[in-house]
Structures are given as C-alpha cells and as structure tokens.
C-alpha cells in the first residue's frame, strides 16, 4: 500500500536536512553490521519493494536456492548519523530482509527476534532489556597477533582526569544521545582501558538495534581520537574480559510480570519460571550468547585467578539473589519500585549477535513459563569458591567450557532450532564448527613458549 506516516516523515526529513545518502543497515547471522547506501530518490522504492541484493555474499543469508533478497528499511529506525554532521548529511535505517516474493526471510536475525517477540506477545508479554556493555580502548590500530596496549592504567570507577577515556566517554555518550540512544551510566571498568556504558531499558528489538549502533559509534568515536575500541570478549590473558550483563523483564501491558509484592525477592511465579527456563536451557543457548572461540576464555579465564575475588564472568548454571557469581542474579529489591523488578543474565558478551542472543534468552525463559518449570534453590555462596564436589552435591552444572562443547550442546537442542528457525540454526552450527576446526589447527604462542625450548 502507500507510504505510511513514518515513511513520509523520513522522506521529508531527508529533504529538509539535505541528506544525500541513506545507509540501509542490516545484520548478518554472526552479528556483523552490513550497510548499503542509497540516494534519497531510491528510498521510496525501497520502502515499497525493498532494495535487491545478492544474499549469497552475506554470512548466513546464502540459501543456495535463494540468492536474491530484498532489504526493506524500517522507517521507525531512521536517524541522522551524527559523526557525519557536515552537510550534506548521512542517515541510516535498519532493514528487514525479505524474500523476493515479499515474505520475511528466515535468515534475517532481526526477523528471528521479531518472531520470538511475537511469540511472547501471543502470551501477552513484552520483553524489555537493559545491557551493560563493556569494551576496551586500545592504543593505535590493532595489528594481527601483536599484543594490544590499553589506553590507560585506570581501574574500576577511576576518574582519570583529562584522560583519553574520559573524553572518549563524553563524546561517545553525546553521540549516542543524539541518535536517540539513552545512556544510564558510564564508568571506567576494572581492567586498564576497559569502559562500561549502560543503555537505558527498552524493548528488546530496540535494544538490539541500539547495540548494533552502539558498537559502530564506539568505533567511530575511538577513531576520531586516534584509539581503537574493541568488543573482543577477552583480549588480555591477565585482565578480565568484556561482557554484556543484561537486565531483563517481561511486562504485561503496564505491569511488570516479574513483580509480585510479598513474594520472595518480590519475584513472581512468572519470573521464577522464566529463570528456571533460562537455567535449564542455558547450556544449549551458550553457543549463541558466547559465539566465539575467544568468548570461552572470558567465561573460564578468570576462574582460577579470581576464585573468591568476585570475578565478573559466571561459569556455572545457577541463580542467586544479588549473587554476582551466579549466571542469573536477582538484584536487590528497591521498595516503591515494583516495575523495576528484573533479573540479570551475566554470561552474554558484547561480541554476540544481539538479535539472536535476545531471541534465544527470551525463548528459553518463555519455555520455562509455558512448561511451568520449577525453580531450583538459589545459590547463596560464591559459586567459584566451592569445590567441584560441593557443586556436584548442589546440582550446579558448569556452562560449556569451550566453543566445541557449546556446539555439541546446541546440536542436541530442539528448542534452539525452534527459536532461531531451521535456516539460521543450521548455518550457525556449520559456521561455528568450521571456526572450531580452524582454531584447533592453530599452534599458539603458549605452546611455543612452553615447549620449544624443552622438547
């Protein structure tokens, strides 16, 4: 049908603000941002029919029987890009990926999330998320294999006067805000050069779009300042990795479905079942939440070193009330803030594909609600400090310890193909198997250092 109001708004804004290029963004299955630029004149057609492209050139889109695809911009995501402020300007929109007959493509991660949200909506729920994004600022441009160097030696909450990091966060936040992405907190994280920026609560699709934008903005701002922003989960052996702890809740209309006054931790039955679902399915969704070989070095890298010291990466499948060593934490309840009842899922890292990760998390939680899973007892101790025998007694399982284990758990899953769709599920598995095989072939520095002189 004809253009709707939002599409018209976009067309008018292009005119008024003298915008000559519109970047149409979409995301491949691995979470890399893809972009195609169109001139304003083509946009009307793009709204009506989408822009054709060769899907086989995009990771995970390549159905061999389906090379031609369409990218159809979502006008509600229209934003002028602030780092190209000079006129003529540049704007962006996220796209939905369609088949040539106009039906949604099952290969589109955004559609995967939309379907998951649709399923939640069928049950009467809206899914809200609030991510805490960590990343490193490094000196110069990264080069293959060279040891990266953090921009500073600051630590947790350090206020480093006139530092790169300080300027960086200020500029970055201004840019985020100018693109309509609200920032809750920002501070220096525990490791040298490590930053944390928390985004405001929003529905999961918006959050996922925001994370895609966020990663790009951080890289752009860093470049302007001659530094490099990296979302690699674990760039340094000796420092903690970068995670994306995500707070989440379900709403039924205006009501927080996780909140029940008087219940233990004010946590409703729905909330408890959601956690139970996440716990039961945590191993099989790990490959999606922590999709790189390197992700597992964050999940497991700190265990020995920081046992008892409160490292931030959770490695064991359990939950706890305000327990930072648990995979799922139920934060301290604040009176008069019933709508703020939420849970925090802590294994996720920033290098995930946020659309797929949110879909997987939501799907696992909904499964718990649908099937009425019972929530096991919460963990009260620091799980890292327990002996493995103690953990066994308490029934606390480890998360997969490597990408290989995660792949195997994913292969056994019936839930994940349901959530991701068969196409994405299949592509993802094949791609990750290939990554694992490629990694396994590598002879590392570690081996050379340890072995070459003695063997």
């Amino acid at each position: 049908m004809a253009l709707d109001r939002q599409q018209e708004f976009v067309l008018r804004t292009l005119e008024e603000r003298d915008i000559r290029f519109i970047r149409l963004w979409f995301t491949d299955v691995l979470g890399f941002l893809k972009s195609v630029a169109v001139a304003p004149a083509e946009l009307e057609g793009a709204f009506a029919e989408g822009i054709g492209f060769d899907g086989s050139a995009i990771q995970g889109f390549a159905r061999v029987y389906e090379a031609d695809m369409l990218a159809k911009p979502d006008p509600s995501t229209f934003q002028v890009l602030p780092w190209r402020a000079e006129s003529p300007g540049v704007a962006r929109m996220f796209c939905d990926i369609l088949m040539p007959d106009g039906t949604p493509s099952f290969a589109d991660p955004r559609y995967v999330l939309k379907r998951a949200l649709g399923k939640a909506a069928d049950l009467g729920f809206t899914f809200y998320t609030h991510p805490e994004v960590e990343f490193f600022l490094l000196k110069g441009q990264p080069e293959d294999g060279r040891e990266p160097e953090p921009v500073d030696q600051g630590g947790y909450f350090d206020h480093t006067p006139h530092s790169t990091a300080h300027d960086f966060r200020r500029n970055a936040i201004m840019m985020l805000e100018s693109m309509g992405i609200s920032v809750e907190y920002s501070h220096h994280e525990g490791a040298p050069g490590q930053q944390e920026i928390d985004l405001r609560y929003a529905d999961a699709l918006t959050t996922a779009d925001n994370i895609m934008t966020f990663r790009l903005i951080m890289k752009e701002v860093a470049l302007e300042q001659g530094v490099w922003a990296s979302f690699m989960p674990k760039p340094f052996t000796e420092y903690p990795g970068s995670g994306m702890h995500t707070h989440m809740s379900l709403f039924e209309g205006d009501r927080n479905a996780f909140y029940e006054p008087g219940a233990e931790f004010q946590l409703s039955k729905v909330g408890r079942a959601f956690i139970a679902g996440l716990l039961r399915h945590a191993p099989e969704i790990t490959a999606v939440c922590n999709q790189w070989v390197n992700s597992y070095k964050r999940l497991w890298g700190g265990v020995g070193a920081s046992a008892g010291a409160g490292g931030e990466a959770p490695s064991y499948v359990c939950w706890g009330h305000n327990n930072r060593s648990a995979l799922i934490r139920v934060p301290m309840y604040k009176p008069q803030k019933g709508h703020a009842t939420r849970i925090e899922f802590r294994s996720l890292d920033t290098a995930c594909n946020p659309y797929l990760a949110f879909a997987a998390i939501l799907g696992a939680g909904l499964k718990g609600i649908e099937q009425g899973y019972e929530l096991p007892a919460g963990a009260e101790d620091d799980v890292w400090a327990l002996t493995s025998a103690e953990r066994r007694v308490l029934g606390i399982e480890p998360l997969p310890q490597s990408l290989d284990e995660a792949i195997q758990a994913m292969e056994r899953s019936e839930l994940l193909p349901e959530i991701l769709g068969e196409h994405v599920y299949d592509f993802f598995l094949r791609n990750k198997r290939a990554e694992w095989e490629d990694y396994r072939r590598q002879v590392t520095d570690y081996e050379r250092k340890r072995l070459i002189s003695v063997l």
Partner: protein, 1004 residues
C-alpha cells in the same frame, strides 16, 4: 390477578394492551392509571401501532407530565393525526429523543404544522444553529454571544430539536435515505459552524483569522449517520505568522471541544481530524500553501482517495473553495502513480479477506456482506477507473454507484441490487443509532431490540423472523455481487451485443485485468471475448459463469494460464450438451476446474488431452481413486476387444495400448486432482499411482503376449512375469517416477529352453516398444536396469537363472534392492515362485553380519558424497540430501535386512509400513519413526506438488522465486515460502539425526 369483565363485555384494558402489542401490559396499565393525563382509546390504539408501544407510552407519559400545557398536546394529538403519527413513531424508536422531549417538552411543536414536512436547506440549518448560540448568521465570521457551558448546551438543544424534526420525517417515510443522510451532514456542518462561532468568542486572539473546515469521509460525502465521528481537516489562510497560526490552532481545537464535550445535554459527536496531513502527529491547522505543498510532495494514493470526499462545510467559504481548487486536480494525477496496481490489489485483498471482527455475525458494517463491502467495492472501482473518467468521481456512495452503472463499469442490475442492499443496511443502522443516539453498528441480540427494529421497518407479522431473513438476504446479495462486480463488466467490454448499456472500454478492461493480477491483459481480454461472444447456448452459459471463474483464476497462482486453459477446454467441448449442463448446474466443477487450470501445468495438460474428464470434478466420490480390480478389468477388456478383431496384429496391438494409455491419462488426472484438492493423502496417492502403472504394464504385457502368440502361431512356451522394483515395488510411485522392473520367465515343462528364452525376450521387447510409442500423454518409462548385471545382463532371465545368480554373485546391495521387489504383473504361479526364491535372500536367516552392515553403511556414505548432482546444495535435494527420501528408506531397509526373518511385519516392500512394523517390534522408538515418517511424507508431497505445478519432475526444492515456488507453496497449503522451507528443514534435520543414530550407529 384476575380482571373483572365490564358490563358491555369489552375486554379489560390490560387484555387490550396486550393484544395491541404492548409486551408488558401490566406495566402499561399501571402507568396509564397513575398518569394524570387522560390518554384516550384512540391514542392507545395509535401507540399500539408504533415499533415499540411500551417505549412510546413511557415517552408520551413522561412528555405529558413535564409539559406546561399537556391538554394542548393531547388535543393536538387527537386533532391532527399527522402529529400523532410523527410523535408516536419517534417515541417508539428513540428513548434518547424521548428524553430530549422530556427536558424540552415544547419541542414537540417541530413535528406539527406544514413546517414538519418541510426539508430545511443547509443554509436554514446553519442560521438556526448560529442563532441558538447568539451569533449573527449574516456575519462573515459569526461570533457567538454564548460561550462555555452555556454555548455548548444551547447548541446541543438546538441541534437535537433539528434532529427531532428530521427523525419525524425519516421515520414516517417522508424523507428518503439519501435525503436523511445528506441532511445529517448539513446539520453536522451547521453545528461545526456554530461551534466555530463559540470558539471565536472564546479565542479573542484569533480574531480576523480566517479558518475553513473541510468535511471528509461521510460528512464530506453528505452521507452521514445519526451518530458517527465527523471527519474534518482545518485550513488557515496563507500569510499567517506563527502567533496567528497558534491562535488558529486554538480555534480549531475549540471547535472540536465544543462539539465533543459532554454536558447535561449530552454531547454531539467526536470531531476527528486524523485525516489531516501527517495524521495525529501533524499540526492541527495548516495554511492553504502548506496543504498544497504537502499534497504536491508527500501525499500518497490512499490520502488522495480520502480527499475524494473533501467538501468545505464550515468557516470561511472562499478559503474552503480555494483549498478544494488547489487540491482536487492533484487527486487523480496521483492515481496514475507507480504503486497504483499494488494499491488496488492490497485494497482488493482487504475487501475480500474481510477479517471478521468480534461479534461478526451481528455487525452491520464489517460483517461479510456489510456496509464496508459496498463502500469498498465502489471506492475500488473508482480508484481503478476514475483517473481516466471524471464522470465517476462522486464522493457519495449511492451517487458513485449510479455513475459507475451509467458508465458501464458496473452492470445495471448489480448496481441496483447493491444500492438497494446499501439503503437497507443504512436504514437499519439509523434505527439502531436513533434508539439511544449512540454510535453503534451492532444489531441487537435481544428479542425486544430485534422486535423494535423489525416493526420500525414495517415488518409486523413476524418482525424478528422477517427482519433476520431480510438482513441475511441483503448481506448474501452484497457478498455475491461484490464478487462479480469486478468481473462481469469485463464481459460487456468485449460483448458484441447491440449496446443497450454503456460498457467498459477496452482500455478500462485492460486496466482492471492488470489490477486483478493478469500478466497479459490483452490476451485475457481476447479469451474472454472468445468465450462470451455469440448467441449460442454455450456463450450464454459462459457469460454467466465467467465473472465467477475470473475471480477464482485471479486467486490462483497463474491466472493467465487458468483463463487460457478454460478457453481450450471450452473450444474442445464447447457444444457438447452434457458439458454445458455440467457447467451450468455444478458450481464445484467450475471452481475445481479453475483451480486446476490456474495452478497445475501437469493436470492442465492431462485435462486438455481428454477434456471429457471434467465430469469427475463434480463429486468427491468420482475423484476417489478407482480400485485396482476395476481398472484392471477395464484395461484387459479393452485389450481383449482388439485382440479379437481380425486386423493385422501390429495395428491392433498399438491400438490396444493406445486405449490403455488413455485410461491411464484419465486415472492420473483423477488422482492428481484429488491430490491437488487435498482429498487424498500421500499413501493413497502412492498406491493409486502404482495401481495405474501396474494396470498399464499388465495390459501392455497382455497385448505383447497376444501379438507374439499370433506371430508364433501358438501359445507362449513359458510363464512370464514382471517384477516391480524400487518405488514401484514399494507401491510409492510418484507422478514422474520411472517404473523399475525386472522380467522373469519360467519355461513350461517339456519346452525348449532356448525357444522359450527367445519368446520371452520378444515379449519383453514388444512390451517396451508398445509403452515407448510416441504419444501425447506423460510417458511411463520402463527401467529394467536394476536387473542382475545391470545393462550388461540379459533383459529377461529364467527363474532358475535368477536363483543361480543370487546364490553365486549377489552383493549386499542386491539383497537390499530385492527388499522392494514385488512381482505384481503376469503369471501368478511364477510370481509365487519368484517370491519364494528371493525371500531367503532379502530376509536372510539370522539377519546380516557386521561386515555386511558395514558394507551397506559405507555404500550409503559413498553415495551421499557422489550421487548428488554437481554444484547442488545437498540440503535442497529432497531425495538424496540429508534427511531426504533416501535416508529414510535406507534406515527402514537396514532394519529389514537385520530383522525381517524374525519380525513378519517387516516383510513388506512399503517404507512406511516397514517403519510401523519396526516400532511394533521395538526396533525403533515412536519418536524416531515419526521423525522419519514425517520427512518421508513431506518429501513425497513436495515431489508430487512440484510435478503437478511444473509438469516436470524435480528432486530439488523449487529454486526460482517466481511462480513455481509460490505455486508449490500454495498447493501444499503453506502461508509463505519461508514457512515451507522451514518445515522441510525441520523434518529433514530430525530425520537425519535418526539416520545418523540408527543407520550409521553413531552415538552423540
């Protein structure tokens, strides 16, 4: 309570009331007794004649009680029967107006005197409402003397008074529906004007600021209801500065508030300004220039469509006219836009999908056959043809319908029927809304409400029953007509009948066909012309049928092919009397034929070769596959007839096979149609196609034997049989499958074995020759390559030779192939012996050893790597890809080789039966068998659907993204291609997992 009879034996008051139609006579009697007014017998009789006597009585008594001079009213009612009729009729329909009268008893006077019959002009309505709020109608920009609540109340009282006047004429039949709807629009315009006067008085800063109010929707089209939202757009004069524009916006907001605010006198209606540029997010008021700029640059087809109904209704008339002059010329230019065809199709889908709202069956507006259907149909036709013809652009539904009819865009009878239904539905809507002056489109479900409605419409004997029947009839009529509305005029466009009616021009017809999804509108028009022109009975019947069939074609994957096919069938069968009868009387036949022709190339070809087969489309019983016995008897009889005649053996043999192949064509059509229509499941289709192939080969064999015997001048010296192998042996043939066979013979005792071999070979060769003769039907390919030694081996072997071969040489794959061997055709004694010979090989005692299992696994693993065509993604190969047919079949076959000796149920050639038996025997879990069975059945259905749609077989999921894949998707009943692909991937993944575990023995 018993009432005494009075002296003159008149029935008691209560009995009389009951007979007059009061539903609660006791209450009525009490009310009358309690009332101070003296309501006489005549008046009581008259009350009984109203739609709802109880309602009318309460209203009347309340009015009399509140009235200062009840006697004057009673006298007027007695003296003037017209007043009596008008007042009582209104009171019998509307409690809201009764309440108004109770508050303003004096207002009954608008129903009296000659004025009561008079239709007010828009100007007089405007004057009367302006005066009511103390404004001077003569002013260019009248300002009210009353403001705030006083103004709002005064406006409502005056408005209701005019409404009462209108209801009096409406309900007594003085004003026709069109007049009522137009006057309601005028009244709304007057109220807006008065509202504007109040707003001016309340907004001094807007003094001198020119504002025009443009009516949209039903208000603009002068076809308003008693109560509905009034759609408007506000226009300010050019050259206002920001402050003045803000003042104008305040003024506009004031108008909206004055009309919609609730007061002790109720509210008028909501004023809805959402049709303005940018909708609710745009500024409430724009200048003329800003409107013009917006429509020039931004507005889209549907917005122009909304503008069609635009009409200045209040405020500055010159400004309003200037707005219209500026905007209207753009409206139809826009209809030529690129997205026009899509817009039309989207609208058409909206009309036809007609998502049923809640309480659908009681909905006047949105239910199928409701008001929305009529309005949409009319607008759609205006949209398709209005840009080329400025004579059909009226904003009023009834007028537009009349124009469309005059222009030949809609058939005259259709237009008349549609208009009459529209009037009926609108009258019902008005009555419903009058009751409480509420915005409603729901027909009541209580007896009282329905009764009042029926009686108000003049249905007195059985108000509820008659009303319901009438309503359903109209709704059905609308439904049927709007289906044909688009198609019928296409026939007139090409008709050669002397022009009694104006008709669609060829250009308009082509535009409409394109909008309906035909790719070659010129060709389509030619077919329509050929099918419908002429004076023959055939043309007459086809003229009736085509409008409906065109709709079915338009809904199917390939409308052009459908229409072409229909023309071809008609050309062949045209004047056959039974064909015409069939088409005329059997809707099912026509609908199924349309569906078949527009979705399946395979079936279209079959049907065109033997069009008389359309008869079978009429009933599901006819479409059920014929039993093997029936077919076999028919085929062998055909062969026998020709063997008995005394022509040359060569000719009669070919003719016999020709007859059998015709039978095969007919049966393939029968099975294919059942399949396409979802009447037969996968197993049934496989069995039926196998039966057809069996009968065909059997008849060809008999013919071949007859011929060879004639040539040899003696009976065949050997028993001969054909062994079905592969999918054929498994009774799982598809439409395009080759028939895998082996030929076996067994020389009769005392005959020369060499001679027998020669004769048997001759029979086999003749059989192949006969079936390979060029013919128009889909070929039945005989593939004998599964025989021992493949192509190198002899075509025919004796039973003994087979036995010797299998004993000495047989490899594991040959035992496996024998699992599917079923000697279906030929000598029954030989068939039994053949089975006895192979049973120990295919179902070996104690199963198979580890080495053999490993060989079979390795063979399959190699095949997975090598047998796939080069460059094909294995995952789209539904036969050889992971989880495909081959996976499932090999799982079943491995279990059979291992366990059939112990489990009798496994001794079957059928894949699904073997899986069932494996579950029974505990060799396979139910879940695993389901995964395998689901994948196998879906793959089989996909292959079938691909063949039906394309007419060519393929083992690949359809890869092109145009017609074929969409068509396959629709034939299989999926909502979208993505859903079909997902379903296949899911089934295949699960089946593959079972294969990995059960067949390859891998542990995960």
């Amino acid at each position: 309570m018993s009432e005494p009879w009075s002296a003159d034996r008149r029935p008691s008051l209560i009995g009389r009331l009951a007979r007059l139609g009061f539903t609660d006579a006791t209450r009525a009697q009490r009310l009358l007794a309690d009332s101070e007014a003296d309501v006489g017998d005549t008046l009581i009789d008259a009350l009984g004649g109203t739609a709802d006597p109880d309602l009318a009585l309460s209203g009347l008594l309340m009015l009399l009680e509140r009235s200062q001079e009840p006697t004057e009213l009673l006298n007027a009612l007695d003296d003037d029967l017209d007043v009596q009729e008008r007042l009582l009729t209104v009171l019998g329909v509307s409690t809201a107006l009764a309440e108004h009268l109770a508050r303003h008893p004096d207002h009954w006077r608008v129903l009296a005197g000659p004025e009561a019959l008079h239709r007010p002009t828009g100007r007089s309505l405007r004057e009367s409402l302006l005066t009511s709020v103390g404004a001077d109608p003569a002013d260019v920009a009248p300002v009210a003397g009353l403001t705030g609540m006083d103004g709002q109340v005064a406006l409502r009282v005056a408005y209701r008074r005019r409404l009462l006047h209108l209801a009096g004429r409406d309900l007594t039949g003085v004003a026709a529906l069109g007049e009522v709807a137009a006057e309601l629009a005028d009244l709304a315009a007057a109220a807006l004007e008065a509202g504007l006067a109040i707003a001016r008085a309340e907004t001094p800063e807007a003094t001198g600021c020119k504002l025009a109010i443009i009516g949209m929707g039903k208000c603009g089209g002068r076809e308003l209801n008693y109560v509905s939202d009034v759609d408007v757009i506000f226009v300010a004069e050019d050259g206002l500065d920001d402050a003045a524009l803000r003042a104008a916006a305040k003024l506009a907001a004031g108008v909206m508030r004055v009309c919609s605010a609730s007061t002790p006198e109720g509210s008028l209606w909501e004023v809805d300004a959402a049709l303005r540029p940018e909708g609710r997010s745009g500024p409430l008021v724009r200048t003329l220039a800003s409107h013009r700029a917006y429509y020039e640059r931004w507005a889209k087809t549907w917005e122009f469509q909304a503008l069609l109904k635009a009409r200045p209704v209040a405020g500055d008339p010159e400004l309003g006219q200037a707005y219209l002059d500026a905007v209207m010329p753009m409206v139809w230019k826009a209809a030529a836009g690129e997205s026009f065809v899509e817009d039309v199709q989207a609208m058409r889908r909206r009309v036809e999908a007609n998502v049923a709202p809640a309480e659908a069956e009681r909905q006047l507006k949105l239910a199928p056959g409701g008001l929305r259907d009529v309005e949409f149909s009319v607008q759609l036709l205006q949209l398709v043809h209005g840009r080329a013809d400025d004579g059909i652009r009226s904003s009023n539904t009834l007028e537009a319908l009349a124009e469309l009819s005059q222009g030949g865009y809609v058939g005259r009878d259709d237009a008349a029927a549609l208009a009459s239904a529209y009037r009926f539905l609108r009258r019902v809507e008005h009555l419903l809304q009058l009751y409480r002056l509420r915005r409603t489109h729901l027909v009541p479900d209580d007896e009282e409400g329905l009764r009042r409605l029926g009686r108000a419409l003049g249905l007195r004997t059985d108000p509820i029953g008659e009303f319901t029947a009438l309503w359903r009839r109209h709704a059905r009529g609308v439904r049927r007509i709007h289906e044909k509305l688009f198609y019928r005029p296409l026939l007139l466009a090409v008709a050669r009948l002397p022009g009694e009616e104006t008709r669609l021009t060829p250009e308009a017809a082509r535009a409409r066909l394109t909008a309906l999804g035909f790719n070659d509108p010129a060709g389509a028009l030619r077919h329509i012309e050929a099918l419908s022109s002429g004076m023959s009975r055939r043309a007459a019947i086809q003229r009736t049928l085509l409008p409906v069939m065109l709709g079915w074609f338009a809904d199917a994957p390939d409308p052009d092919a459908g229409l072409l096919g229909f023309r071809q069938v008609s050309d062949t069968l045209g004047s056959t009397p039974w064909y015409l009868r069939l088409l005329r009387d059997e809707v099912t036949v026509a609908e199924r034929m349309a569906r078949l022709l527009a979705s399946s190339r395979y079936l279209t070809d079959l049907l065109l070769r033997a069009p008389e087969a359309v008869t079978m489309l009429g009933s599901n019983a006819e479409l059920a596959p014929r039993s093997y016995d029936l077919l076999s008897a028919e085929a062998l009889a055909a062969v026998q007839r020709r063997a008995d005649d005394d022509r040359r053996p060569h000719e009669s043999a070919e003719e016999a096979v020709g007859a059998v192949r015709a039978l095969r064509r007919r049966e393939l059509l029968r099975v294919g149609v059942s399949d396409l229509l979802g009447l037969a499941d996968v197993r049934t289709v496989g069995e039926a196609l196998t039966d057809i192939a069996t009968v065909t080969i059997e008849a060809a064999l008999q013919t071949a034997i007859n011929k060879i015997e004639t040539e040899r001048r003696g009976p065949l010296p050997t028993r001969f049989a054909v062994v079905a192998m592969g999918r054929f042996g498994g009774h799982e043939l598809g439409y395009g499958s080759d028939a895998d066979v082996m030929f076996v013979h067994d020389p009769l005792p005392g005959t020369d074995e060499r001679d027998a071999q020669l004769a048997a070979h001759a029979v086999a060769e003749e059989l192949r020759r006969l079936l390979a003769l060029p013919a128009p039907d889909p070929a039945l390919m005989i593939d004998p390559n599964l025989r021992p030694e493949g192509r190198q081996g002899p075509l025919v072997r004796t039973l003994a030779s087979y036995a010797a071969y299998y004993q000495r040489w047989s490899a594991s794959w040959e035992s496996q192939a024998l699992l599917r061997a079923d000697p279906l055709i030929g000598d029954p004694v030989l068939a039994v012996r053949f089975r006895e010979m192979i049973d120990p090989i295919r179902w070996p005692e104690d199963g198979i050893d580890e080495t053999t299992v490993r060989d079979i696994r390795r063979l399959k693993a190699r095949m997975e790597a090598e047998r796939l065509p080069r460059g094909v993604d294995p995952r789209v190969h539904i036969k050889l890809g992971p989880g495909g047919l081959s996976d499932v079949e090999w799982v079943a076959q491995l279990l059979q080789l291992q366990h059939a000796h112990a489990v009798p149920g496994l001794r079957t050639t059928r894949t699904l039966a073997a899986l069932d038996a494996a579950v029974q025997a505990g060799l396979l879990t139910v879940a695993d068998a389901t995964a395998l069975g689901d994948a196998w059945q879906l793959a089989t259905r996909l292959r079938g659907a691909i063949m039906l749609v394309r007419g060519r077989p393929s083992d690949l999921l359809p890869t092109d993204h145009h017609r074929d894949r969409t068509a396959v998707t629709r034939v299989l009943g999926y909502s979208a291609t993505g859903a079909m692909l997902e379903d296949w991937r899911r089934c295949a993944r699960r089946a593959r997992a079972v294969t990995e575990r059960v067949f390859y023995g891998s542990v995960s």
